[in-house]
């Protein structure tokens, strides 16, 4: 049986060997070549491709890391700092009205101080707040090592009293919280407060008269007197001015409703669009101090036994944080999505097509130019005989209003400028000034008109920015009282290094006030004791600064003012001298 089966198998094996061999197909080799082209293995361009892929992957990784870092930081800011969140943009529901307010100093004035204006001021252009890009540049707090002692006791009284004497007194206003109010500070600050915006600590609306205190710090003397510095974390800032706003009712501190922000306009010297709002934030271990529950006493007491936490000035530990408000402007009348048409041009073109001889123009009834002059202008512009021009005046508009510093009259439906006007195409159809065929025949014209309109809006926006530049003020909306700062980050410092000085013997480091002020830009960096020296952190190289040291010696305040150029070497041989507060203030005023 096996032999028979073997013969059977042998028969098939032999026949298989003798079977036709298939012909080679070029297509099969082409498929093979494609496979060989894709198969892994070292090739000429393999290394280049690999390097490119690695670079692209690294780039993608860097982008993802950056985005994640920013998003995490944003969440951290909005979650952690509630005081910052309340400064974020709020929708403005009602425009403020200018009222006359008299400072209520002395407080015994009982006559009605507030007058509601009869005519409402309508503002067509207003400021908007945009989120700052620098809000993500916060650095971790490093205050754990540099916070001064909160209760220094008897020490440092001389220094604090010295600073107290050069402080400008806070400006006090008595206002009616039920009316809109506008306050004018002595150094140019303008504050607009909406009616019914003050609440007490239990969020109850305050209806009794409110004592509003305003402290302005626009120069070095005032800033140093209040022991203020311009740093955000470790980053130095350039200040445009600092304000402290406080409101009291029966000596208890009040708050502002977040839905009714206070508008603050701070005077400026040189307009800088990078200026933004910073709010004061105290370290967590000084959390008892950010909001004053009761009105503080005006002068520090010398009795060390009665010294309490109110003696400690928490301003020295303020860390400025960006509140997310930059200087930017929005044109509320810019309906970019709408399509406007110049009736003047359209009708002129239509008539040109129908009647070659006569020209019919539509002009605004609101124009102040006489008809004859309009005809003369049109004749010169289009080279048409004067007698062939006919005018049609359209009075479709009322409630006219002239835009500030422009020759354009803004109406509900369009613009009137000179003898021409623009209006919505739909409205022109309704008024039978143009017809449906016009929209088809002059579609190109309409499109060009839209382009021109957008260009004009762009130019207008620039004009408004320039206009605001001449307003001499930085404007912010704030929803929390306390210290605010108009600042920007220093971005041009190429090289920074640790700057420190050593004090001569006999100077008590614990109670001194050490700062350096920059001469080119308004920046104040505080100094803290580290390893027996006074360190100012990282300071730009070759920066001209003035060292301002106020120390205590034998119960007397002594001062050291020294001009320096920042170098890596440690500053030594400081000479302190006795100086009256007036002399000190005069020296600082020269900076």
């Amino acid at each position: 049986m096996s032999a028979e089966n073997n013969s059977f198998d042998e028969f098939y094996r032999q026949n298989y060997e003798a079977a036709e061999t298939p012909l080679l197909s070029v297509q099969h080799w082409n498929d093979m070549a494609k496979i060989l082209g894709r198969r892994p293995g070292p090739k000429k361009s393999f290394h280049k491709r690999t390097i490119r892929r690695v670079i692209s992957y690294l780039g993608l990784l860097a982008i993802i890391t950056t985005v994640t870092y920013f998003s995490v930081n944003t969440k951290r800011v909005t979650k952690v700092s509630n005081s910052t969140a309340q400064y974020l943009p709020q929708r403005r529901t009602k425009q403020l009205q200018k009222v006359q307010v008299l400072p209520a100093f002395p407080l015994t004035v009982s006559a009605p101080l507030l007058v509601r204006p009869k005519k409402k001021l309508r503002v067509s252009h207003s400021i908007i707040r945009v989120v700052s890009d620098t809000i993500f540049q916060q650095r971790p707090e490093t205050y754990s090592k540099i916070i001064p002692a909160p209760n220094p006791g008897a020490g440092g009284i001389a220094v604090r009293n010295f600073l107290q004497e050069i402080k400008a007194p806070a400006q006090i206003f008595k206002i009616n919280p039920l009316h809109d109010t506008m306050l004018f500070g002595s150094q140019g600050t303008v504050i607009k407060i909406q009616a019914r915006s003050f609440v007490d600590s239990l969020n109850r609306l305050v209806q009794t008269p409110v004592i509003f205190e305003l402290t302005e710090c626009y120069n070095y003397a005032d800033m140093l007197a209040h022991d203020l510095a311009t740093t955000s974390g470790d980053a130095p800032l350039v200040s445009g001015g600092m304000l402290c706003l406080q409101a009291f009712s029966a000596d208890y501190a009040l708050k502002i409703l977040p839905s009714k922000p206070v508008q603050v306009a701070m005077p400026r010297e040189n307009y800088d669009s990078e200026m933004q709002l910073f709010v004061a934030k105290l370290p967590t271990n000084l959390s008892a101090y950010p909001v004053l529950k009761v009105k503080p006493k005006a002068v520090y007491v010398e009795d060390s036994k009665k010294s309490d936490s109110s003696i400690f000035n928490p301003n020295a530990a303020i860390n400025w944080q960006p509140a997310g408000q930059l200087q930017a402007y929005q044109n509320k009348t810019a309906f970019v999505s709408r399509r406007y048409i110049k009736l003047f041009e359209v009708r002129q073109q239509v008539k040109t097509m129908e009647q070659q001889d006569n020209r019919h123009f539509i002009v605004s009834l609101n124009t102040s130019i006489p008809d004859e002059k309009v005809k003369l202008l049109l004749s010169n512009r289009y080279a048409i005989d004067l007698h062939k021009i006919s005018l049609q005046k359209v009075a479709a508009f009322d409630d006219k209003k002239r835009a500030k510093n422009t020759g354009v009259i803004l109406t509900k439906t369009g613009f009137v400028a000179g003898d021409s006007m623009m209006m919505l195409f739909e409205l022109a159809l309704k008024e039978k000034i143009v017809f449906e065929k016009d929209s088809l025949a002059f579609m190109k014209l309409i499109e060009q008109d839209r382009v021109n309109y957008l260009e004009r809006i762009r130019k207008d926006s620039i004009a408004f920015v320039r206009q605001q530049e001449f307003d001499n003020a930085y404007r912010f909306d704030i929803t929390g009282l306390g210290w605010i700062n108009c600042d920007k980050f220093r971005r041009n410092d190429l090289e920074r290094f640790e700057f420190s000085l050593s004090l001569p013997p006999g100077i008590d480091r614990r109670y001194g006030n050490f700062k350096i002020v920059f001469k080119n830009q308004r920046t104040i960096l505080p100094g803290y004791e580290m390893n027996g020296r006074i360190s100012f952190g990282k300071v730009p190289l070759n920066e001209p600064v003035q060292l301002v040291c106020i120390a205590e010696n034998n119960g007397r305040a002594i001062v050291c003012l020294k001009n320096l150029i920042v170098t890596p070497a440690e500053v030594e041989k400081l000479s302190f001298e006795f100086m009256t507060p007036e002399q000190f203030k005069a020296r600082l005023a020269k900076l």
Partner: protein, 186 residues
């Protein structure tokens, strides 16, 4: 079959596409004919051949020059075909009792009247699993135990498929002879 020259082997070692093409064309007739036994159509056979040659080109550096290259390539081709068939085939376990003890004797007329191409055609008409076992046993010389190990089946199942292949082939062969006889008479 002509032996492969050393130049072609060295060219393939350096990934020279021209040399690879020469080797591909050199092996094509023999190997594609082999692949045809394990596939349903020429295109599928070419795909199997390409997959096998890709393995050849990738692993030619590991080829021992002392052996015969064509035998090595044939082994790769067969293994590639077996892998492909194993993926597709689903064997039913057959008890050894089902294997009949029939013997298949070739009609002597078949040697004269059946050509080789018809034989190959008959094999391709067999069921896939049966043809696979038949090819491995008859053409490649595997034993039942080896086939069982290759395909993951029992030796009894392998025997059953071989017996079934012989039975079907004999039936087709007789049927073909009858058709040719009647056609000649008419």
């Amino acid at each position: 079959m002509k032996p492969v020259s050393a130049d072609i082997i060295s060219g393939c070692l350096s990934n020279n596409l021209n040399q690879q093409r020469q080797l591909y064309e050199h092996c094509y007739p023999e190997m594609v004919k082999l692949c045809l036994l394990y596939s349903r159509d020429p295109d599928e056979a070419a795909a199997l051949y390409n997959a096998a040659m890709l393995k050849v080109f990738s692993g030619i550096s590991g080829f021992n020059s002392k052996g015969e290259l064509m035998g090595w390539i044939r082994r790769i081709v067969v293994n590639t075909c077996i892998d492909d068939c194993r993926k597709r085939a689903k064997f039913i376990v057959r008890p050894i009792d089902d294997i009949s003890g029939d013997t298949f004797q070739i009609n002597p007329e078949a040697y004269d009247r059946i050509n080789a191409n018809e034989i190959v055609h008959f094999i391709k008409e067999l069921p896939l699993n049966t043809a696979l076992v038949f090819n491995l046993f008859v053409l490649e010389g595997y034993k039942h135990e080896e086939i069982a190990m290759l395909l993951g089946i029992s030796a009894g199942t392998s025997k059953w498929h071989l017996n079934e292949a012989r039975r079907l082939l004999k039936m087709k062969l007789d049927h073909s002879l009858k058709q040719k006889t009647y056609a000649h008479v008419s």
